[in-house]
Symmetry: C2
Subunit: 415 residues, 2 copies
């Protein structure tokens, strides 16, 4: 059993080695991991059963148990994910920009690996494989700290990936599990500046806030999504309904689903009743302000909390505003800088909305549900950033890299 | 006298307004600031004299007093700086990338302002004007927290800039000085996540480490520079001497000057004596390892501390290594990820060095002193980042911006 520092030091030592691997070497190792996962599926499932039995006995909710649970299908999906990451272009070494200065110095801005990426996450064991594969393809070592409830599952998955790396002649320490136990190990990890270049906290608001509070290592915050759909005066009814229903109901447990519907008052006068009936027909519980209440019966009065809440279930807050400006003000006040949508036929309203809403992604006549690495064409993602520094929105391979400048001279000195 | 929160709230409110300004509006305001600084130079100098008198009486060193001191030339230089920033291209609104998905969604990655940038800095009052002008041109509001020793000077400079903004019809809160006094105000600023999007600590290692420890707002670390010059086996003597002398002595108080000289043993055998004599001739105090000692008489034995020290004066550590690999190992162990230089005629050695040294800037046959916004062609810079997240090396206008994705559809929903 390694201590946290030993694991971090191993990852740091490995990072220099894997930074130098070619795309072919990395892809071969990813494919070997996929094959190994399939071959050793039974062992992984046995480890997962140990977690499941312990947590069920400990009183974990069915919902959480479902997140923790692995079966053949879920393990097969992880292998598919690994093969998809192998297909993605290698981000490392790309010359992002190149120019020559008047004194003859040639400057190249080159994408390089981050180094060691730490990830702190909760129950789902598939994150273990997703995150490890992305970090590895991006040339970084990963230090994985999952929840203790999934420890056996994660250890088994990491064991399989490490063996596969070794089989390809790659240091297994490219993928390191935090083995040290104890409540303070997360807090210690958050301050390991000498070993870790970046930490991505993924999970509950509590987990993320703890990372924000205590980290001295730079973090990429994958925050909550209190996303809005704003229906502007000129919106087409059919499009507005389709987008609102999709954004709210297509999947309710994800950060890019919508939580608040904002309608321009003139539009609401004409279509509000229909739209709210359509939502209610999908079993969406509506929490409205006074102006919205007249378009649906039995609406729960919205409180201040409703405007800020990320329901993550079939519930939606409803607000009426006089114009796009008021909608933007509301969104910038209560939103979480994730994804915000306007439905409108007016280019002017759209322009105002897209430019003035402060969010990672702003949609015009498209569902909020498209904020996703695959939907953007990035392939798998390490999460969706809601901070403004470094990476915003879906974080694919390029977003988890750094860069360096290479300056090539012929003996130049500074006058 | 505003409280910190009041100042931060004012900056936040202003940020939405100045994010929308055109390049022409921003440039006109910057030129107005330059004119106002020249016109009100006497008032600025009077304020500076108050700081100087108080600090001289308080026992501030001559060296520090010189940093604090303003005269007509220094104020004129600030005006020149403002006009240079007005000349730079506007980074805001640039479409960095644009593509269309198979479902017809058009995705644009657009550069946007950061929002509110906080800066925590030490004595030099010119930083007040430099930082404010860069943040403003990048469409962000700035919250300035200088040292208390420069308070009157900074307040005068900020007052002049705010009046100039108002004269151009721009909210003066684009440039806010932290007026609240007290020792804990920096620590409070470091946690104002609701108001501040980014904090740049500039100054001593103590100031920066305090920010790293306590910040919950994302920071961009402008760290110390323990930069190395490595002379490889095949290096041309003349070039090696010119670069080493320039990197060490052209200016010793800056983060991109060299602190350690590493020579390949074969090269040192042939040229070490000459190079060390040349350095001694420039009054450079040499601290060498045992192997280096034989090439210069009276060398101070280097201790572990010398390898890590940022001397910032005419002193240099000297180390002998067997090859480029050992040089890279030493640099990655003791360097601060700032700027590292190899002098060599071997493309193979250069390639190994450039790819394996982990630093913001790696130089081949060029002085470390070129790591600078102007030398890179970025114009003025807010500092030189030594972290790997977001921005590395000189931080010009683009580096202090964020981006957002604009997704433009025709009613697409996610299947």
């Amino acid at each position: 059993m390694k201590t946290l520092i030993e694991s971090a030091a191993a990852a740091k030592a490995a990072s220099a080695e894997i930074a130098r691997l070619s795309a072919e070497e990395k892809n071969a190792a990813l494919l070997a991991m996929a094959d190994a996962l399939e071959a050793q599926c039974a062992a992984v499932l046995a480890a997962n059963r140990a977690d499941m039995d312990r947590e069920r006995a400990g009183g974990m909710s069915e919902d959480m148990l479902d997140r923790l649970m692995l079966d053949e299908k879920r393990v097969a999906d992880m292998a598919v994910g690994l093969r998809q990451v192998a297909e993605l272009p290698d981000p490392v070494g790309e010359v992002m920009r190149e120019w020559t200065r008047p004194n003859g110095l040639r400057i190249k801005k080159v994408r390089v690996p981050m180094g060691v990426i730490g990830i702190i996450y909760e129950a789902r064991p598939n994150v273990t494989v997703d995150a490890a594969s992305l970090a590895f393809k991006a040339g970084s070592a990963i230090l994985l700290r999952g929840s203790s409830s999934a420890y056996e599952s994660n250890a088994a998955l990491v064991g399989v990936m490490r063996s596969a790396l070794e089989s390809r002649g790659v240091t297994p320490d490219a993928v390191c599990l935090v083995e040290e136990k104890g409540h303070d190990v997360v807090d210690k990890l958050l301050t390991l500046r000498d070993y870790v270049d970046l930490i991505v906290p993924r999970g509950s608001a509590r987990l993320i806030n703890n990372a924000v509070e205590k980290a001295t290592v730079p973090i990429l915050q994958t925050g909550t999504g209190n996303c809005h759909v704003y229906i502007d005066q000129s919106a087409d009814y059919g499009m507005a309904e389709a987008i609102t229903i999709n954004a709210k109901t297509q999947r309710t447990s994800v950060c890019n689903c919508a939580e608040t519907l904002i309608m321009q008052e003139g539009w609401a006068e004409e279509h509000g009743e229909d739209l709210l009936r359509a939502l209610a027909g999908k079993n969406v519980e509506l929490h409205g302000d006074e102006a919205a209440a007249k378009y649906a019966s039995g609406m729960i009065p919205a409180t201040e909390r409703d405007w800020a809440d990320e329901y993550l279930r079939l519930a939606m807050a409803v607000k009426i505003v006089p114009d796009v400006k008021a909608a933007v003000e509301h969104i910038n006040r209560y939103g979480t800088m994730h994804t915000e949508c306007i439905v409108t036929e007016s280019a002017e309203s759209a322009d105002y909305f897209l430019n003035n809403v402060d969010a990672a992604v702003v949609d015009w006549n498209a569902s909020t549900r498209f904020t996703d690495g695959f939907e953007f064409g990035f392939g798998a993602e390490l999460g969706i950033s809601t901070q403004k520094l470094h990476a915003r929105g879906p974080m694919g391979l390029e977003e988890i890299c750094s860069y360096k400048y290479m300056v090539i001279g012929t003996g130049q000195v500074r006058p």
